[in-house]
């Protein structure tokens, strides 16, 4: 028997991607996890084990900030799940209606904010909502609802929800596009068969289309989850690194940034910053695992 030849071409073809990915993703990830186990004491880096995590979770000062950021992050995510994704599905369902005119126009108009930079979106909305120059107060005034206006971004109780809504406005195009694509793959025959059985209109959506696009909704949920728990840009551009007012818009991303790089007179602490980054990684990992093993494997798929 001849010895098996090593198939070099596999190695050669994989190498560029593996090398680049390792250098820019895998190595920094593990190095961050490693950095979280050290601390700088008197100009020297010392291995401290899980001490940083103990500080993060149990020191009253750190724990308060961490749980506040985590809670805000969950609220940010919940708003997206309750507002962005249902609206996305609804828009996709309307757009896929065969008799809708200008569908392509609407589709692009709704999708365009997604390709805008966070900085542009952040500043544009900050101006729109500005109590001094913004158009939001004058527009509300025109319909006689001026009393409903509040400086939303400056109030502890509204700021985070307002920013979540701005983010929803920006990203609603993504679920819309994914669901739209999923809806287009549903064969006409199935819908026609349903029609013969008397299932039309809304019933057809609920009973035929929705079950068929459930896997796509699952994917969108997990994308939203990962995106939201990694979010940082929008909060940073509108509220700054201190995520005001009074940390009410502080999410894990801004908390990590402030700690890692420092802010104003506060010097950066890469080790505590890495500990927060590791905690974020763990949270996202757990969330994704719950989805993969708890939900996706049980989801029923239909042959189309």
């Amino acid at each position: 028997m001849q010895p098996r030849r090593i198939r070099w071409h596999i190695v050669v073809f994989l190498a560029p991607a593996v090398l680049v990915y390792t250098a820019v993703m895998i190595f920094p990830l593990f190095n961050t996890l490693r950095l979280a186990l050290y601390s700088r004491i008197d100009q020297e880096r010392i291995f401290v084990g899980l001490e940083n995590f103990r500080t993060l979770f149990f020191d009253p000062f750190w724990a308060e900030q961490f749980w506040n950021a985590l809670g805000n992050n969950f609220w940010f995510f919940i708003v997206h799940m309750l507002v962005q994704n249902p609206i996305g599905v609804a828009l996709a369902a309307i757009l896929s209606h065969p008799r809708l005119r200008f569908a392509a126009l609407y589709r692009s108009a709704i999708f365009i904010p997604t390709i805008l930079s966070f900085v542009i979106v952040g500043f544009a909305w900050k101006l729109i909502l500005s109590p001094i120059w913004g158009i939001a107060p004058s527009m509300l005034d025109m319909v006689g609802l001026k009393s409903l206006f509040a400086p939303w971004l400056g109030k502890e109780e509204y700021a985070l929800t307002t920013l979540a809504m701005v983010s929803v406005w920006q990203f609603v195009g993504i679920p819309m596009m994914l669901i739209y694509a999923a809806l287009l793959t549903i064969p006409e025959e199935i819908l026609e068969a349903g029609e013969i059985d008397g299932i039309t209109g809304f019933a057809a959506f609920w009973k035929i289309k929705l079950p068929l696009i459930l896997p796509s909704i699952g994917i969108i949920s997990i994308l939203t989850f990962v995106g939201n728990f990694n979010a940082f840009d929008l909060i940073y551009t509108t509220q700054g690194a201190l995520a005001g007012p009074d940390f009410s818009t502080d999410i894990l991303g801004t908390f990590m940034y402030r700690t890692f790089f420092g802010f104003q007179l506060q010097l950066g602490d890469p080790h505590m910053g890495s500990a927060i980054a590791s905690a974020m990684f763990a949270i996202i990992l757990v969330g994704v695992c719950i989805y993969l093993f708890g939900i996706q494997t049980r989801m029923r798929r239909y042959q189309m």
Partner: protein, 417 residues
């Protein structure tokens, strides 16, 4: 942009060329003040070179946000310039501790500066000074003179007069009494708390006692400014909670607000924007005749690279920075940034003059949180931002805020434990 780079390239080759034939010493200045490039090349450096033949000076600034990182790596690599523009407090102290800055305590020119001025560039015990103080910014209030004249109001001296004036504007209704927002947070602390505060904690006396652990942030003099800030919210514009720093600047320079809690760095910008007459008044005191205290915050210094090949020439330059000639050039070219030396300086800009005139009547101090107290976590300066905003909005009582700040400081700062 490219044209500017070209110009700079040309300018620098010209400088290199001019040094090539003379056997001159060339000093290189590292700085983050790239806004001031023209000022240095056209005014400061020619004045120095005229007086000191044989020494050439080159000003090579980098972008403010990158300065600390760029400077650190240059110093590590041994390629940094002879003269280093110093950030105040811990950033420069770290450079001195690492052996990158020379001790300048023995320089004669250091005698031209007050202790407050030197405090930003000294070791904690004050035994070594490593940068010559160059400029400070003064806090106070800028007001719309036309608006005050329109309502027939006097410039307020005491706190009662201050609030009476604001009340008058509020009643009259055509001006927002005071332009400030809490969205960006730092104005509330910098132009609010640290602006009016020194009158309560008696400037340096209170600040030093706090550092020494003899006073606490829960003491009346540290809590009272928050109680005063709480009264401000009634005079700020609608929706001040979401008003940003540029919003406030625009509101005031468009003539829609009467009073602007300010730092003197606003002077040149406001001069260009406002088409009404402006004046400045100092933070009001409790009772007429009380000693007044102002925040005269040290902002820019200049020191010597310990590895400089031309220490003699560098010292000559630093001594000149401490002279009244430099002070006069600098103060008039950059109204709102004040030289720190005791030498008398004639300033032409009327608004900038208003600010500096207080130095004669009042005691100077610096922002209470900047020296030593913001070294740990939680960071006192950042916490003060949040506390000042909370005070203005009335979300927490002044006493609760004081207690919270004290707890935070005591958690890491030994003299306060």
């Amino acid at each position: 942009m490219t044209r500017n780079i070209l110009k700079m390239a040309l300018a620098s080759t010209a400088l290199v060329a001019s040094t090539a034939y003379a056997d001159d010493v060339t000093l290189i200045i590292e700085s983050w003040r790239n806004d001031d490039l023209a000022l240095w090349q056209e005014k400061i450096i020619p004045a120095f070179e005229a007086e000191n033949p044989g020494i050439k000076v080159k000003f090579t600034p980098s972008a403010p946000a990158e300065y600390n990182a760029v400077l650190n790596s240059k110093l590590e690599a041994g390629s940094a310039g002879d003269l280093i523009t110093c950030r105040p407090f811990d950033a420069s102290l770290a450079l001195y501790d690492a052996g990158h800055l020379s001790d300048l305590s023995d320089m004669e020119a250091m005698g031209n500066f007050s202790d407050v001025a030197k405090s930003a560039w000294q070791t904690d015990d004050g035994s070594a000074s490593f940068c010559v103080p160059m400029a400070s910014v003064i806090h106070g209030f800028i007001y719309n003179k036309d608006a005050f004249a329109e309502l027939g109001l006097e410039v307020p001296q005491t706190e009662a007069e201050f609030f009476a004036a604001l009340d008058a504007f509020k009643e009259e209704g055509s001006y927002i009494p005071m332009a400030m927002g809490t969205n960006d947070q730092w104005e509330a602390a910098t132009m609010g708390y640290n602006n009016i505060g020194p009158n309560y904690w008696k400037g340096e006396e209170g600040r030093r006692a706090l550092i020494a652990g003899e006073q606490k942030l829960t003491d009346a003099q540290w809590v009272a400014p928050y109680a005063t800030l709480a009264k401000w919210s009634a005079y700020l514009g609608d929706g001040y909670e979401a008003q940003t720093y540029p919003d406030s600047q625009n509101l005031f320079t468009l003539g829609r607000a009467a009073v602007y809690p300010a730092g003197s760095w606003e002077v040149s910008g406001f001069n260009n924007l406002a088409d009404f007459e402006m004046g400045a008044f100092k933070p009001p005191v409790m009772n007429a005749g009380d000693t007044c205290y102002i925040s005269d915050h040290t902002d820019i210094g200049i020191g010597m690279n310990a590895a400089s090949a031309n220490p003699e020439a560098a010292r000559t330059f630093l001594a000149w920075v401490g002279s009244s000639e430099f002070a006069t050039i600098f103060a008039n070219a950059l109204p709102g940034f004040y030289p720190l030396s005791n030498a008398p300086v004639e300033i032409e800009d009327p608004l900038a003059k208003d600010f500096i005139s207080w130095r004669d009547e009042c005691e100077s101090t610096i922002r209470s949180t900047y020296q030593i107290l913001s070294r740990g976590t939680p960071n006192l300066e950042n916490d003060t931002w949040g506390a000042s905003v909370a005070a203005i909005k009335g979300t927490e009582t002044p006493e609760a805020l004081g207690a919270k700040l004290q707890d935070g400081l005591a958690s890491w700062y030994a003299p306060q434990q």
